[in-house]
């Protein structure tokens, strides 16, 4: 059914034809995004979460909001017509993960193995 209606691959940002559904998609997406932003600010400024868990909570909320943006604003789907888009994004996210996590790992390791220095040089 889907393959007959959309015989070609779809690119991100291209909507289906029903325009009222698209208006709804943007509005629902904005609502979710605003709620998740408010939640991030509340979590970071209050003691709602156990203090050492706050960074983890913020990262989870950020990933949720990125997902909301991808689905409701960029119209990225999970169907077969989106395989190429998801593959490109997945490869990009792999590189992002390698660069950020790798840098943090390497520098943390370097810092841990530094010769002890006197005074405030450790800053």
């Amino acid at each position: 059914m889907d393959g007959v209606d959309h015989p070609y691959d779809r690119s991100p940002g291209v909507e289906q034809q029903e325009s009222t559904a698209n208006f709804l998609s943007y509005t629902v997406g904005l609502g979710f995004a605003v709620l998740l932003t408010i939640a991030s600010f509340v979590v970071s400024q209050t003691n709602l979460l156990w203090a050492p868990g706050i960074p983890v909570g913020l990262i989870v909320l950020a990933f949720a909001q990125i997902g909301v943006h991808l689905v409701f604003f960029l119209h990225l789907g999970s169907g077969a017509d989106h395989t190429n888009n998801i593959l490109a994004l997945g490869f990009g996210l792999l590189i992002v993960f390698l660069v950020i996590a790798g840098s943090c790992w390497i520098i943390a390791d370097l810092t841990a193995n530094m010769m002890p220095m006197s005074g405030n040089a450790s800053h």
């Binding site: 059914m1 393959g3 015989p7 070609y8 691959d9 779809r10 690119s11 991100p12 940002g13 291209v14 909507e15 325009s19 698209n22 208006f23 943007y26 509005t27 997406g29 904005l30 995004a33 605003v34 932003t37 991030s40 600010f41 970071s44 400024q45 706050i54 960074p55 913020l58 990262i59 909320l61 950020a62 909001q65 990125i66 943006h69 991808l70 604003f73 960029l74 077969a80 017509d81 395989t83 190429n84 888009n85 490109a88 994004l89 490869f91 990009g92 590189i95 992002v96 660069v99 950020i100 790798g102 840098s103 943090c104 520098i107 405030n120 800053h123």
Partner: protein
């Protein structure tokens, strides 16, 4: 239903060699999507630098002394709303409603410009308090990362002005619509990067 899926799986399906080349619109937007993914990879380098250097304040001011979260919240709302009006603008362009598109584009521009104004006044305030990019490694990384996002927003505003001029001069022709599609992808992608910035820089740094 299952029978049709079986036949689709065994034959050449469109996008995997069957049915000829994809429409120009799909090809153009996919190419721009690859650019956006590579732009996000470029930002990951700046995020990595910030993550590594955020503690190196060289006895200068730390993020918790510098960041004003109320201001950041207003900036975020400006960017989210401008993404919303940009999406609705793209929708009205698809429906061939140029006047609605122009009004919504004005909102998008105004909200983006408000974001940029708040960001620049924050930068000016920090530099005047002696917390410029040369003060510490933390501040160098901060200005590079947040400034790069601001530079992207500036480029987006210039691009939006150019697109509005094209719609006025040429109307909503197919190639103008393709460029508009690329612009709205770019504008939504800037939101995604900003979410990373507020989480990593402001919300974690202000604690």
């Amino acid at each position: 239903m299952s029978a049709t899926i079986d036949t689709v799986d065994t034959e050449l399906v469109p996008g995997r060699g069957g049915g000829g080349p994809a429409p120009t619109r799909t090809v153009v937007a996919y190419g721009f999507w690859l650019f956006i993914v590579s732009d996000i990879v470029m930002f990951s380098g700046l995020f990595a630098a910030y993550a590594v250097l955020s503690g190196r304040i060289a006895d200068g001011p730390a993020g918790s002394e510098l960041f004003d979260l109320r201001r950041v919240f207003i900036e975020t709302m400006c960017l989210l709303l401008s993404s919303y009006t940009c999406g609705l603008g793209a929708l009205s362009a698809e429906r061939r409603q140029p006047s609605r598109f122009l009004i919504l584009s004005c909102f998008t521009f105004a909200l983006g410009a408000a974001f940029l104004f708040i960001e620049i006044s924050e930068f000016v305030g920090m530099v005047s308090r002696g917390a410029g990019p040369s003060r510490s490694a933390f501040l160098s990384a901060f200005f590079t990362l947040v400034g790069m996002h601001g530079a992207h927003v500036t480029a987006g505003l210039l691009w939006l002005t150019y697109m509005v001029a094209q719609v006025v001069a040429k109307g909503l022709r197919p190639h103008v619509l393709r460029r508009l599609l690329c612009f709205s992808l770019f504008w939504h992608a800037l939101d995604i990067i900003w979410i990373g910035v507020i989480t990593v820089v402001y919300l974690m740094g202000a604690r």
